[in-house]
């Protein structure tokens, strides 16, 4: 099978004098490398400039609320079962009278924790969830952490903020993560 048309046939025929002298080949090689010297560099200056990673990028987890602002999660535990890294743990609780505007289902997760050190961002929790409650955002990454106690993300950091709802648009206008200033060629 031929993959490219750039493959060269190897031959062990005797070299001509020009080839034995190395010099023409060396000059050719130098010409190739110097042409690369002036080429535009494809480097993206990572922390300053971020590339749009597409609408299916698996980043920071989010626990979605529904249109009325109620938490969707029903603490069924399917995400925890699906998780290959065993990163998710939760404590279920029953919805009390008067909490209907907080939780959509009768059972909800009082505690919902994801250990970001264990998580491998496979997205299986998102696939497993029957209530479309947990998603992995495409526009935000889990930030770098220095301390171990920053590692476990509770509901305070996972549940969606109603004022800043997360929408996954397939044809996103977002070209870089919105939380970062998108500098172009900040430092060369």
């Amino acid at each position: 099978m031929q993959l490219t048309n750039r493959s060269k046939q190897v031959s062990n025929k005797e070299m001509t004098l020009a080839e034995k002298m190395y010099l023409p080949a060396i000059v050719g090689g130098l010409a190739i490398t110097i042409s690369h010297f002036f080429r535009k560099k494809p480097t993206i200056q990572y922390p300053e400039v971020k590339k749009y990673l597409g609408p299916i990028y698996r980043g920071h987890h989010i626990l979605k609320r529904d249109e009325q602002g109620r938490e969707r999660c029903t603490a069924c535990g399917l995400c925890a079962v699906a998780c290959p890294a065993e990163a998710i743990s939760m404590v279920a609780a029953e919805r009390k009278k008067g909490e209907e505007n907080l939780y959509r289902e009768e059972k909800y997760a009082a505690v919902y924790e994801i250990n970001m050190l264990r998580c491998i961002f496979c997205g299986l929790c998102e696939e497993a969830c029957p209530k479309q409650a947990v998603y992995l955002r495409h526009d935000l990454m889990v930030p770098v952490f220095q301390e171990r106690d920053e590692v476990i993300y509770g509901k305070d950091r996972l549940v969606e903020n109603m004022n800043d709802r997360y929408i996954r648009v397939a044809n996103s206008e977002v070209q870089a993560t919105p939380t970062e200033p998108s500098l172009t060629r900040a430092a060369t």
């Binding site: 031929q2 025929k13 002298m21 130098l30 190739i32 690369h36 430092a187």
Partner: protein
């Protein structure tokens, strides 16, 4: 020589010393930048603007590494190795004429560490001493890989010194002097630059300079794939830093040497016209000093080009195999340089300086003929 002359001389020496160190420092940065650009990357750009503080960061890192001496190593020789490498590297820039001369009052002081009439010999002596740094260090490490690297360095340097010397003999014959300044002065007019009179000698000299500096494609003494780290396998901290630094100083010195020997040193086309115009407009002393400064800058331009060339070659060519290295040195370069000497001598008999072009022309003809007579390679279509 009164005090002022001594003072000026001292300043010149210190400046040359400082410039050597500065250029070597920034060569490490330039090397990484050039490597990056040749490979479509950007290179270091985080430490300071455009990464300009990178060498300082590197040095800082080197200083804070553990200074380790293997228990079985011969301790004093182990320390002596890098010092020797550094010392010899720094010594060799003393005789290179960096500029014409500085005039003040009635004095005229050459811009050169020291003007001796055997400058070429001095450089040869110091350069061949340079391999002892590697030898001593490699041997004292008490490590087979280091020793192998050191042996390779020694045999490589010895082999290539012959061709280096022979290619220079042609120049010495043309100048009739061993003083580097005399050689430079002899190339005052553009078409008498030795690159035009000694094209073959230049190629041989450059190749040998690469080998003497242990630079790719001849960096077999530190060939990672075979020898772990070569002669500096056991070294850490600033001792390793000295070895690496010595390599860059050597590179600077050989670039300076190549530009002095073959590219007219501080001469540039229409230099005399510029010089006399300056002297006429600004007086004999200031004008002359400014002309010297221009020459100085031109010389450094040439040096920087060759440093760049060293790096350019390094990031283009793969390493030679050891037997290829020896074949190239002994079977190609030495006979060629002897031929070069003979032809130059024959040319000088008839006062014709450009005789060595005959070799080049003959070689080009041979290449064309052998290329034409070679059986055409048939590209066998690949099995689909």
């Amino acid at each position: 020589m009164d005090l002022t002359v001594l003072l000026v001389k001292g300043i010149i020496i210190l400046v040359i010393f400082g410039i050597t160190l500065l250029i070597a420092t920034y060569s490490t940065y330039a090397e990484r930048k050039v490597a990056a650009f040749l490979q479509d990357r950007l290179g270091p750009n985080r430490a300071g603007p455009w990464g300009l503080l990178q060498p300082i960061a590197d040095a800082g890192k080197m200083f804070f590494k553990e200074d380790f001496i293997p228990s079985q190593a011969s301790k004093w020789l182990f320390i002596l190795g890098p010092c020797l490498a550094m010392l010899t590297a720094l010594m060799s820039s003393a005789v290179i004429p960096f500029g014409d001369s500085i005039r003040f009052d009635n004095y005229s002081i050459p811009v050169q560490g020291i003007e001796i009439n055997i400058g070429v010999l001095y450089i040869f002596g110091v350069v061949s001493l340079g391999v002892y740094g590697i030898m001593v260090g490699g041997w004292a490490s008490n490590n087979k890989f280091s020793l192998l690297g050191a042996i390779r360095a020694a045999s490589q340097n010895i082999s290539y010194e012959i061709a280096l010397g022979l290619s220079m003999i042609a120049i010495l014959m043309m100048t009739g002097s061993l003083s580097v300044r005399a050689i430079v002065d002899q190339q005052a007019s553009f078409f008498e630059w030795n690159i035009f009179t000694q094209p073959l000698g230049f190629v041989i000299f450059l190749t040998c300079a690469f080998a003497e500096c242990n630079r790719t494609p001849f960096d077999l003494p530190e060939c990672e794939t075979e020898l772990v780290g070569g002669y500096h396998t056991e070294y850490s901290s600033m001792k390793l830093g000295f070895y690496l630094f010595a390599e860059y100083i050597n590179m600077f010195v050989s670039s300076a040497f190549v530009s002095a020997l073959y590219f007219g040193g501080f001469h540039y086309p229409f230099m005399n016209e510029v010089g006399s115009a300056l002297e006429r407009s600004m007086g004999a002393i200031t004008g002359h000093n400014i002309a010297t400064a221009i020459g100085f800058v031109v010389f450094f331009g040439k040096i920087f080009f060759f440093i760049f060339f060293f790096m350019w070659v390094r990031w283009t060519l793969p390493r030679f195999r050891y037997d290829q290295l020896m074949n190239l040195g002994w079977k190609t370069l030495i006979p060629l340089s002897i031929l070069n000497v003979v032809i130059t001598g024959a040319g000088l008999l008839y006062n014709f300086k450009y005789a060595t072009w005959a070799i080049v022309i003959v070689m080009v003809l041979m290449v064309i003929v052998s290329g034409a007579r070679a059986p055409k390679r048939e590209a066998i279509p690949q099995q689909v």
